[in-house]
Amino acid sequence: MRPKSFVTRLSRAALLLGVAALVLTAFGTTVAVAKAKKVDKKAKPVALQTGNPSAPVTLEEAGSSLLYPYLQVLTPQLSTAYPNITLAPAAGGSGLGISDTIAKLVQLGGSDAYLAPELAVANPGVENIPIAVSAQAIDYYVPGAPSFLNLSGNVLAQIYEGKITNWNDPQLAALNPTVTLPNLAIVPVRRVDSSGDTFLFTSFLSATNSAWANGPSEGTTVTWPAVSSELTASGNPGMIQVCHATPGCVAYIGVSVEDTAIEDGLQEALVKNKAGKFLKPIHSTIEAAVAASTKTTPATLAQSLIYASGKNSYPIINFEYLMVQKQQSSAAVAEAIRTFLAWASSPTGGATSDNLSAVDFVALPTSVIPKVDAAIAKITG
């Protein structure tokens, strides 16, 4: 038998390889097409139709670790109100919530940050739906110093820029004239995951310090200035853990875990607002800030509530959003989502004062509710 030439053998091998690759791709695309077919329907505007679905539906949620404790409170109550809807929340950071929603990996993306303008343009099918108002605290751990030190956004920006490095710095002393601050190096702690809390904090720094606004600016991830002592943490609980282990630290932490932070020994700061008063994030100060800001909420519900004017307004507050794709994979899932969102944002449903105060949140203002309902109505399947 004539020995086969090298070319023949090579082409045979290439042919077989190609067949294998083709089979793999065909399998994948068939499945992809099968999935895509379900989504290919024209969206019809409908009235707010909600109700208990006829078959069990699980709504997967991922994202903000600031929102997560609130969702944990809501989950069992949702099952009681609508037995066929189960909420499966997870933390992971607001960036993950937004990413997963865009990629259609989850039905609901929890985020403290609204969609970036360009991201909203690139993904017109995703909308921001707020269900509550929350806030962010600034905590520190300085043994020997009292709780409720005064801090301002300008000073915090300089700390995170590396310009203020010690607790006995004159600028801090100026804010706290009655306190003797110790000679202790400041250790700023920042979030390493893509975080809505980072967005809120950097928005606040941008509003109060022009160097920060022109430099790192705001975002769920930013280019943090080089500070040699800076530490990183993952998630709000991680911030607590790192700060608790490091004397001299300062960290930005969401109110929903503030109780845990205080229990762990962290101290809460009073933050300077636009009117010059030093406040902590409690119900009255958050309410005041909300009232001052929400007269101009756009239909997209993408609005920053940072540095609101008003004597009693706490400066770092935000809408807690759930990102949703307007087009869902089935009518049943769409109905379940509408039902959950309507229930969660309603004072007679999930947004009871007990639930909200369990995590130090505040209810959505009544002026915003119609816009929220309009957004919920756009979810179809």
Partner: protein, 281 residues
């Protein structure tokens, strides 16, 4: 002079002894610290509750599902591939194929996870997909299965193949009746190694399978699933002592699975030794 050489000998072996201690101590230290951390949490609650209640039920089941899925997918492909290399491939063809899977063995697991996430979960719209996770794990362990199958078959004496050919058996029948059976222990041992690697992986699963607090639904698409390595990862970053206890418990369960697999591997090895002793040389 003699004393100096003797002294050097002693010093050298003391250093080597210290080196041996440095190898043994970390594994003891790790197991000890895992036991110490997990001790308060080592109750039946771990098996009956899911991660939502600081248990491990869904994670244990998820890891078992992944191990089984990887066995079912990578096992046959790897074994068949190894058979080709050992029985049918010409030397140059075999070198190319070997180069292929050895290069695949060198690909970092995060790269596999990244591609699976971008292509399967997102572009193919599989969502959080058990199948994507299993495919990613398959890409990582397939080289091991192919290699150990080929080696196990190479150890089978050629006399068996010659005898089968002399009897006029087709290659397929010869494989089935004469060549494969003695190689089974070696192949099984390779599968054990592959599964041990698969249950310890995290990076390729993080973004492809997601995580869920509920028990596995066995749905291949649009469903996240929990597994033990993620519990260790997540809970390490959480602040409370209870979280660390659960992480340590998950780590212990993983080591438990590993010991079971090592035990199976050794048992199978002993079976292989017994079998080869009774084979015609």
């Amino acid at each position: 002079m003699r004393a100096a050489r003797g002294a050097r000998d002693l010093v050298f072996w003391v250093i080597c002894g210290i080196a041996l201690l440095l190898v043994v101590l970390p594994s003891l230290a790790i197991i000890f610290s895992l036991l110490q951390q997990a001790w308060p949490a080592l109750t039946l609650h771990l098996l009956t509750a899911t991660t939502a209640q600081h248990g491990l039920q869904n994670a244990i089941l998820g890891t078992l599902v992944l191990a089984f899925g990887v066995l079912v997918l990578a096992g046959p492909i790897g074994i068949l591939g190894g058979i080709y290399l050992a029985e049918f491939a010409r030397p140059r063809q075999g070198s190319w194929i070997r180069l292929g899977y050895e290069t695949l063995a060198g690909v970092p697991s995060i790269v596999v996870g990244f591609v699976a996430y971008i292509v399967l979960d997102i572009q193919f719209h599989w969502g959080f997909s058990l199948l994507a996770g299993i495919l990613a794990l398959t890409a990582i362990i397939l080289p091991y299965v192919v290699k150990t199958t080929e080696l196990a078959l190479r150890q089978v004496p050629t006399t068996l193949r010659d005898a089968a050919a002399a009897l006029g058996l087709s290659r397929l029948t010869a494989l089935r009746t004469a060549v494969l059976p003695p190689a089974v222990p070696g192949i099984a041992s390779g599968l054990v190694v592959a599964m041990a690697i698969a249950i310890g992986e995290t990076a390729p699963l993080l973004y492809t399978v997601g995580f869920s607090d509920s028990n596995p639904s066995l749905q291949l698409f649009q469903h996240p699933m929990g597994y033990l390595t993620y519990v260790v990862f997540l809970n390490t970053t959480l602040p409370t002592a209870l979280d660390h206890e659960v992480a340590a418990a998950a780590g212990l369960v993983l080591i438990g699975f590993l010991l079971v697999l090592i035990g199976i591997g050794r048992l199978v090895g002993r079976l292989a030794a017994r079998n080869s002793a009774s084979m015609p040389g």
